[in-house]
């Protein structure tokens, strides 16, 4: 009804190749952007307290979306499974912390972007085994990265400036005249910074996966021998996937500590979080950027919604906590069976149905 592409003709290759060829999609994206930039910063989320909406929902969801996009590049687009996501985020966070203690006057946003490169380097290093091993064996190799990096975050005092508590504590930093990190930073400033970085990274990722590099990743995913025969070099392709993916994770890790948590111990980068990010990718949809948004939002807000429901029915919070753990597990199994392509696929099916409505064939 509302979503129909009939009558929209493309008269050049450029028009045909654009990111959103359908007019309704363009309008949809514009509406989302307007909401994100003009509604949320002023009013938060409908029905929720403003600070809570920004600090406990919007900011973490946006940050985890970056993580999920990064992991999706690796798992969804290149088919290399990784359980080291949280540790790569940690690399980003710790390097951003070190950078800002060495260069306190440099714009923190530049440092956040630079810290991604450290994560990318570490990611590429731990991606090396992927050239020889696949599947479960690669999972084990990335798991080793996870534990090794966690060990570094605990044992190498230099990483946290020999702070006796072993935590990194975010100092106050400014960018463009606004306080963007530290407790004095307004939630709305942090929200806008995170949102802008997310959109920027989404555009890059979206174009990467549409272009030559993304196609070679997908070729490796679909059949690596065939890809090699056609002329795709596994070395550069796999390592570039690891590097780009870890870059995204690194940036999101730095954002997580600097824009959201304010202080972090190694516990924020443990293997449980790696699983959480993998669930976001799987639930959202493997190989889909839209899915990354949905997966991150869903996994993060679902327990919150359950918690609120528990409050209304006066169920004690412990039970609800366990219920949400069980429910997420059940949901992952259910989605894996019923819809392996996740929420993104449901969204796509929905759009498909709208196109042919009211006369489905």
């Amino acid at each position: 009804m509302f979503y129909r592409e009939s009558g929209q003709f493309k008269s050049s290759y450029k028009e045909d190749m654009q990111a959103f060829p359908i007019r309704e999609d363009k309008i949809g994206i514009a509406v989302w952007l307007l909401l994100a930039y003009l509604y949320v910063p002023f009013f938060g989320l409908p029905g929720l307290e403003y600070g809570f909406a920004l600090n406990a929902i919007m900011i973490p969801v946006l940050i985890f979306t970056i993580t999920t996009i990064g992991l999706n590049i690796l798992v969804g687009y290149t088919g290399q499974i990784s359980l080291g996501t949280a540790a790569f985020m940690g690399v980003g966070a710790y390097s951003c912390y070190k950078l800002t203690s060495y260069f306190p006057d440099v714009n923190i946003i530049i440092l956040i972007f630079s810290s991604g490169f450290f994560a990318a380097a570490v990611g590429a290093l731990f991606g090396l085994p992927s050239l020889r091993i696949k599947g479960f064996y690669l999972v084990v190799a990335t798991l080793a990265a996870q534990f090794f990096l966690e060990w570094c975050f605990i044992r190498i005092g230099w990483l946290y400036n020999f702070n006796p508590s072993g935590a990194i504590e975010v100092p106050q930093r400014e960018a463009f005249g606004f306080i963007v990190t530290g407790a004095a930073a307004e939630p709305v400033t942090r929200y806008l910074v995170v949102l802008t970085i997310l959109i920027f990274l989404t555009i890059i990722a979206g174009n990467l996966v549409r272009g030559r590099i993304g196609r070679s990743w997908m070729m490796i995913r679909d059949m690596d021998i065939a890809a090699e025969l056609i002329g795709v070099r596994p070395l550069t392709t796999k390592l570039s996937a690891f590097a780009v993916s870890s870059y995204y994770c690194g940036v999101s890790g730095a954002l997580m500590v600097f824009m959201w948590l304010g202080a972090a111990e190694v516990e924020s980068f443990d293997v449980n979080h790696s699983f959480l990010y993998l669930f976001m990718v799987i639930l959202g949809g493997l190989g889909s950027i839209t899915g990354s948004y949905m997966g991150a939002a869903f996994i993060w807000t679902f327990p919150l919604v359950l918690k609120e429901i528990g409050k209304v029915f006066e169920i004690n919070p412990t039970v609800m906590e366990n219920v949400s753990l069980v429910a997420i597990g059940v949901m992952i199994v259910f989605i894996l069976i019923k819809e392996p392509h996740g929420l993104a696929r449901l969204w796509q099916l929905g759009k498909q149905k709208l196109r042919i409505w009211p006369f489905p064939h």
Partner: protein
Amino acid sequence: MYKKIITGAVATAVAVATFVSTAHAEDTLYIPALSYRTGAFAGGGTPFANGFMDYLAMLNARDGGIGGVKIVNEECETAYNAQKGVECYEATKGNGALVYNPLSTGITLQLIPKAPVDEIPVLSMGYGLSAAGIGEKFPWTFTYPTSYWSQMSSILKYIDSNGGLKGQKIGFIYLDVGYGREPIPLLEKLAPQLGFEVAMFPVAGKEMQAQSAQWLNVRKERPDWMIMWGWGSMNPTAIKEAAKIRYPMDRFIGNWWSSAHADLVPVGEAGKGYVGANFSGIGTDFQALQDVIKYVIEPGNTRTDPSKVGDVLYNRGLYNAVIVAEAVETAQKMTGKSAISGADMRLGLENFNLDATRLAELGLAGFAGDLKGDCVDHEGGGPVFMQQWDGENWVKITDPIAPMSDVVRPLLEAAADAYVADKPEWKTQTCN
């Protein structure tokens, strides 16, 4: 179909959220409890949360709240997870939270910088950042009744009075997170000063229940004394391992988070002789606890297992609530308001006086040492006493041992200066 489900879910969420945010009436004292009854540390978190909640519930039932104002005590589950802790903080602070008691050093570290901005004090009772005990540098953070560093110095004093400290080798086994590492700077400072040697045995969070490697090292190093900074399942495991290598139990000392019933009951007879530090009373032989049983436990308005009332951690949670309640009452008296704010609460925390007479008035005679709120001293510098496990229960074996304040205080001040040094915007206060 899917759309309907999604719309339904969104609608419920919105409706629920609106309902919750308007649920609190004007004149209440809103005290959130960031507790954890799930996760790896639930064994310690549950009794503590029970004690905390039951005492406040008892005040509501017996006295109609504090100063005639009802207490709203909302629990938020953190699972000892820093991210969930922040989420709980954000979810509850808007309701006019008076004070936060996170019961996790990780969460405390995250709340410390937020406290001055949101003007809600943090009471990290005997945990958290030791340096936060310097009131001039940390106006919004309190570690009453004492800090890890003071406690460590009390334990060292106990060792000193049991055969001397000089020339001894002290093994320090700790949970390798912020909490466990907290006393290391003090140990390193004091070792050359007092002439003892330290051997460190870190236990990673994942290895809490597999410590044979550490205890093999203990056997090799042969320390004269062992001190433990553990939490959760690390404690019973360590004590069992110690028993396995026949380490003399009366030379194995746990800090106040490593010497609760939850830690020793699973060990039982094998842990006989194990010593622990404590600062809150044991058992139910106090009028206030009898009131808790009468007003809360017996009517069944609680989730506490009646047999667990009076356990070490239960009583410590209760003591936490006592300090909070006392600070609220002090704040009410000072400001003349019945419904106070976070800033008033801070005044209360700096000015309450829980001396022996006041404790007796509260029905807690002999429950804890004297504790007086102060602007300069947010630590309390309170003494700890030693208790020993007799195979079935804890028995108090020493009088309160005062910390070496002369040594600890300058170190705390130096640490507080270091914390503030790289934060030019940090808000300090001047006392008097």
